[in-house]
């Protein structure tokens, strides 16, 4: 469970980016944060993932499965991020991209990659050059790559906004289904109301 309590973020001496935020997302659910651009949605994700630039101050609590994340490095938090663009590594094959994040201790890496590919309807494409995939395939690989890293929570930074309309609902359903299957809390920031309608988790409107 991912929990935000009275969370506020400030840059240097400026006033807080948004009013204190309370949010509770259960495992398998997708919570939604909506708001106009520039309100600090991405900064919020950075704060949760531990990627905040210097000079930012975080106020309030971020809890994952009951423990505080404050002060932990991004690697220690083990929170995955899916970006607006798939950002596949251009020098690795599709399969190598998928196995990049699989924790070292796990043995059957090849099987996991093959399983993820067939789940994404891309069986047998392990050796493909990522640059030759379609937009929808790239988006699916990016999600599967994020999930194979076994994150304890997933942050989704407007991952559907650059896809065209038909593909968008497709990939959205695929994403939500896999989050539910993985049994981890996910937080989606978006300004598409359809994303909010499709999600079954809590919804928050971010404003100053």
């Amino acid at each position: 469970m991912l929990e935000l309590r009275r969370l506020q973020i400030r840059h240097a001496k400026a006033s807080p980016l948004f009013a204190p935020l309370d949010l509770r997302i259960d495992p398998g659910q997708v919570g939604i944060v909506m708001g106009p651009s520039g309100v600090g949605k991405s900064t919020l994700l950075d704060a949760i993932g531990g990627h905040l630039a210097r000079d930012f101050t975080v106020d309030g609590d971020i809890l994952l499965d009951g423990s505080h994340l404050a002060g932990q490095s991004p690697q220690a938090r083990r929170i995955g991020v899916i970006f607006q663009d798939p950002v596949l590594f251009p020098h690795l094959s599709v399969g190598q991209n998928l196995s990049f994040g699989i924790p070292r201790a796990i043995r059957n890496r090849r099987d996991l990659v093959e399983k993820a590919l067939s789940d994404a309807g891309m069986a047998g494409m392990s050796d493909r050059d990522p640059a030759t995939l379609s937009g929808g395939q790239m988006a699916r690989v990016a999600l599967m790559r994020g999930l194979l890293a076994r994150p304890r929570a997933l942050l989704l930074d407007e991952p559907f906004s650059k896809l065209d309309a038909t593909l968008r609902s497709d990939i959205r359903a695929f994403t939500f289904a896999h989050v539910a299957k993985a049994g981890i809390p996910a937080l989606l920031v978006t300004h598409d109301p359809q994303d909010a309608d499709a999600a079954r988790g809590p919804k928050v409107l971010l404003g100053a």
């Binding site: 101050t57 975080v58 309030g60 404050a70 590594f89 251009p90 020098h91 050059d129």
Partner: protein, 572 residues
């Protein structure tokens, strides 16, 4: 439950690498330079107990001033250095304006940039000597059946030297300008100024040049310092008697009479003063232009004839490049020549036998060159990658003093501190030989590798390391598995440049090797004075071939490794 309030600060490891790199650079680059200058200062003041000189005073300077031709040597150095810099700047600017939106110049520039100065100078000599290719081409028209009696080489005014230096320096400046153009909003400025109906040359001079100048100022100062104090090219093409100051001093350092080290050291200070004076001149010029330039432009003034001058300079630049490529070609031709008598344009008989014979002369130097080049380039590359990675982790831009520190070895004349460094190394008990020479090369290779790698490193898509971090990769794994593979092309290019810079070094090999370490460059410079052209051709070809092949490898390797990765090839 209490409220967790915390300030985000980068963890301690983020700064540790920066401290280590800075300490290494200070210890391995700045310290030897300072120690070298210090030893030179002491020797110039008459203090060098190792050779029994303990008479502190101005004796060394008096002895220096008594050397016949010193004044003329100094003036010739100043003239050739300043003329080379101005000419290179003008040609590079004109070619930059004409070629900035085309891709082919970079491909033509590559072999010219890769080829060592000495090889180019020797090739140029074969081209413009009274019995050279140019005279042979002109012979039927002029009716020459013997080489004409014209002093085209080693002329007392240093014109051949200026030509040879410019051939190598203007492509370097052109490359730096083309790289700097990417950092300014060029097309926006060009479009808006063209809409005002201003002539193209005027736009570049008054609008683009002021933005470009801060980005190429250090490279221009490097060219200035180098041209004022170059030794190998000046030995091959420069005036003979008196030679340039740097050549005169190199001979003085090599004098069997060890007491001559004292006036030589005094001369090194004179050389240093010359470089500082010329650099101050550039900065003064910059100040004057900054002060009066805007007013002059605002009054609607134009430089008369600028457009025509620019066009002529661009043509000269193109001709210069052609001449340089011809110089490399004539080296290759001479290396396989058996018989080639004067007015013939091509040799009468060809043979490989001089390659075989040169194998005996150049085999050892070739191995030494390879070892020194590979190790010094690897050291410099590791330092450059560590430096850039440390900058990423500190997440702060490079400070101006750090930029100056990187450039420092190139801004000082080599002769001002290399012999002093040799003395300091001896005093510290370091063994002379290949290891010391390698270190000396690395001091000069590092800045060029940094210059080559910095811009591509900063241009790396920042989303890639972020995506890797989001997958749980730590900073080292991100460096090894993401940044370096994605940056393979610039990393290999920087390595190739490092090898080329090392292969071209002359003075560090001569001084730090105490004459016992021979590379292709020292060999080629020795041969260039009056040996058989065919053997000189072989050694100089070898010397040019080594870096050119390294460049080729740097281009070919990524194409093979990434043959199945489309995004890694297109335009990267």
């Amino acid at each position: 439950m209490g409220r967790a309030i915390y300030q985000v600060t980068p963890p301690a490891t983020d700064r540790r690498l920066a401290r280590i790199v800075l300490a290494a650079v200070l210890l391995l680059i700045l310290l030897p330079i300072l120690a070298g200058v210090w030893q030179t200062l002491r020797a110039a003041a008459g203090w060098m107990p190792a050779i029994g000189a303990t008479d502190a005073g101005l004796g060394a300077f008096r002895e220096l001033l008594a050397i016949p031709g010193l004044a003329r040597a100094t003036l010739v150095s100043l003239w050739t250095g300043v003329a080379t810099t101005l000419l290179s700047l003008a040609l590079a600017a004109a070619c930059c304006i004409r070629w900035h939106d085309r891709g082919w110049p970079l491909r033509v520039l590559a072999p010219v940039l890769a080829a060592p100065h000495a090889a180019l100078a020797i090739g140029l000599g074969f081209l413009i000597a009274p019995s050279g290719w140019l005279a042979r081409t002109a012979a039927p028209l002029a009716g020459w059946d013997r080489p004409p009696d014209i002093g085209t080489l080693n002329d007392p005014f240093g014109l051949a030297l200026i030509l040879g230096l410019t051939a190598k320096e203007f492509p370097f400046l052109l490359l730096m300008m083309l790289a700097a153009l990417k950092q300014i909003p060029l097309s926006r400025h060009l479009r808006s100024a063209r809409a005002l109906g201003l002539p193209e040359a005027h736009i570049w001079l008054t609008l683009i040049a002021p933005q470009l100048w801060p980005l190429i100022r250090l490279p221009v100062l490097v060219v200035l310092a180098y041209s004022l104090s170059v030794v190998d090219v000046a030995m091959i093409l420069g005036p003979a008697n008196p030679p340039t100051l740097a050549v005169m001093l190199t001979r003085l350092y090599g004098d069997p009479d060890l007491m001559r080290l004292l006036p030589a050291s005094a001369g090194s200070l004179l050389q240093l003063a010359l470089v500082i004076l010329a650099g101050a001149g550039v900065m003064g010029l910059q100040r004057a232009i900054r002060r009066h330039g805007p007013h002059w432009v605002a009054q609607g003034n134009r430089l008369p004839g600028l457009t025509v001058a620019m066009r002529i300079a661009a043509i000269c630049g193109g001709a210069m490049l052609a001449m340089t490529l011809a110089s490399l070609a004539v080296l290759a031709v001479w290396s396989v020549t058996w018989r080639w008598s004067f007015p013939d344009i091509l040799p009468k008989a060809l043979s490989w036998r001089f390659w075989a014979r040169a194998g005996q002369i150049a085999g050892g130097p070739l191995m030494t060159t390879l070892i020194v080049a590979l190790i010094s380039a690897a050291l410099a590359l590791a330092a450059a990658i560590a430096w850039l990675e440390a900058e990423d982790r500190r997440a702060a831009p490079r400070a101006p003093w750090a930029e100056a520190l990187i450039y420092l070895p190139l801004l000082l004349p080599q002769i001002a501190f290399l012999y002093g460094l040799n003395i300091a190394a001896l005093g510290a008990g370091l063994p002379q030989g290949v290891a010391l020479v390698t270190w000396g090369h690395a001091i000069f290779v590092f800045p060029y590798v940094m210059i080559a790698l910095s811009d591509p490193w900063r241009a790396l898509d920042p989303r890639l390391p972020r995506a890797a971090a989001a997958l749980g990769a730590g900073p080292w794994r991100i460096l090894w598995r993401v940044k370096l593979p994605v940056l393979l092309v610039p990393v290999l290019t920087a390595s190739a440049i490092g090898v080329a810079v090392s292969v071209a070094q002359y003075l560090p090999t001569l001084f730090l090797g105490a004459g016992r370490v021979g590379t292709l460059t020292t060999e080629a410079v020795t041969l260039s004075s009056g040996s058989d052209r065919r053997i000189t051709g072989v050694v100089a070809s070898l010397q040019a071939l080594l870096p050119i092949l390294t460049y080729g490898l740097a281009f070919a390797l990524p194409a093979i490794v990434f043959r199945n990765r489309r995004a890694m090839r297109a335009g990267r």
